[in-house]
């Protein structure tokens, strides 16, 4: 179920906002609804951003822990998903910094190539798997804000304005971020993007 589907104007018509307000008012069942509905989306976003690291489920828990702790201060100023994704983004950035500082996550199967690794062109039947791994590595190489911008726009299909709200920036800045992200991706995936390959 996509609670944002068919939303005319958020946040009034947003079921997520309504659940959160009910939870704020003391309805514990509304929090269950929030987790049931949004946990898969949070998990997917974390996977797109961080890769299939082993602690994604812990991070999902951490995201909703922050929801619990922000319960009293919550104000319905945007779609619930926008507010939630901002939490996800902040947590993801923290995790990325933690990885950079050496406290690495337990990558499941060396899923991502290193960001500075040159992607070699495919030349065999493995090319699709290579392509997927290369795209994921190229995405992982992007600066955090560019990465989240393109993930939200491309995979979560959020309009640029909404992406801007998540990242705390303007729609124009998002356009610029995505433009630069695409340039980087094109450069890193150059060999895959030759005619007839991708």
């Amino acid at each position: 179920m996509d609670p944002d589907a068919g939303l005319a104007d958020a946040p009034e018509g947003d079921p997520g906002v309504r659940w959160m307000l009910r939870y704020q008012a003391g309805d514990e069942g509304a929090f269950d609804e929030l987790v049931e509905c949004y946990a898969p989306r949070v998990f997917a976003l974390l996977t797109r951003f961080l890769g299939p690291v082993g602690l994604r489920e812990d991070l999902v828990q951490e995201v909703f822990l922050r929801v619990i702790r922000a319960r009293r201060e919550y104000r319905p100023e945007a779609r619930f998903s926008t507010w939630l994704y901002r939490i996800v983004f902040n947590l993801s950035v923290n995790e990325t910094q933690r990885r950079k500082s050496g406290a690495s996550l337990d990558d499941d199967e060396g899923y991502f190539l290193r960001a500075d690794e040159r992607v070699e062109p495919p030349g065999s039947a493995l090319e699709r798997a290579d392509l997927v791994a290369s795209v994921q590595a190229a995405l992982a190489s992007l600066p955090e804000r560019q990465r989240m911008a393109i993930v939200l726009a491309k995979y979560e299909e959020l309009p640029y304005e909404e992406v801007g709200r998540v990242l705390g920036t303007s729609e124009k800045a998002v356009k610029s971020m995505i433009h630069r992200a695409r340039e980087t991706l094109r450069a890193r995936l150059g060999s895959f993007l030759e005619e007839g390959v991708a």
């Binding site: 003391g26 514990e28 929090f31 269950d32 987790v35 049931e36 946990a39 898969p40 998990f43 997917a44 996977t47 797109r48 489920e57 999902v60 828990q61 909703f64 822990l65 619990i68 702790r69 319960r71 699709r128 392509l131 997927v132 795209v135 994921q136 995405l139 393109i150 726009a153 491309k154 995979y155 299909e157 309009p159 640029y160 356009k175 995505i178 433009h179 695409r182 991706l185 094109r186 995936l189 895959f192 993007l193 005619e195 390959v197 991708a198």
Partner: protein, 217 residues
């Protein structure tokens, strides 16, 4: 339909932000069909889109929400739920009778200060009440005084109150002397006000007699 390379780039940017169908429609654009550069650019972007789309959908582990909820249960209990119930058992505090009156009484000096104007002078209503109290007290206690003296002192009090807050304090200080019934000392101490009184007397005929009475002292 774009008619130039610049228009095409704008249309392409919009198409990249939207669903795949918009990019496919762009391929049918007349300008794109005629412009090799734009056609190549569109093809490059479409290849990148296909590469991004090749990343498979994320597989969410089964019963994820249930597990997350179970792990969050202690936090939820601490944040609300049971804790709220426990807190609700604490009986409401007993409010002492007459609390509001006591608070208002305690706040009276501060409220009086807050009512004063920006110059620090007392408000007119307060001044009037203080003046009336002062004169009434004078009438009750200074029975020995002649009517002219009473009028005289009434004028002094009015002058003092109109003049300044400091003069009011001055008058109140001498009110204490009145309680000691040391009227002579009290009247003598009012002398510094005499000049003011004389000035006003020149404009207010009813004060003439009082001024003369004060001067005789």
């Amino acid at each position: 339909m774009s008619t130039s390379c610049a228009e095409f780039r704008i249309a392409l940017e919009a198409a990249l932000a939207g669903p795949e169908g918009r990019r496919a429609a762009l391929a049918q654009d007349a300008h794109v069909a005629a412009c090799a550069g734009c056609r190549a650019e569109l093809a490059r972007e479409q290849r990148l889109e296909r590469a991004l789309a090749a990343v498979p959908a994320v597989v969410v582990p089964p019963a994820l929400a249930r597990r997350v909820l179970a792990r969050l249960a202690p936090e939820r209990d601490a944040a609300g739920g049971e804790l709220d119930e426990l807190l609700a058992r604490v009986p409401p505090p007993t409010v002492p009778a007459g609390l509001a009156g006591a608070v208002l009484a305690g706040l009276a000096p501060e409220r009086a200060r807050a009512r004063r104007g920006p110059s620090g002078r007392l408000g007119p209503a307060w001044l009037l009440a203080a003046a009336a109290g002062l004169v009434l007290g004078w009438l009750l206690l200074a029975r020995r005084a002649a009517p002219a003296e009473i009028r005289h002192e009434l004028a002094r009090a009015a002058l003092a109150l109109e003049a300044d807050e400091e003069l009011l304090a001055y008058a109140l200080e001498h009110w204490e002397l009145l309680h000691d019934e040391d009227l002579d000392l009290w009247l003598a101490s009012l002398d510094p006000v005499d000049e003011l009184l004389m000035e006003v007397a020149g404009e207010e005929p009813w004060l003439d007699a009082a001024a003369e009475g004060g001067a005789e002292r």
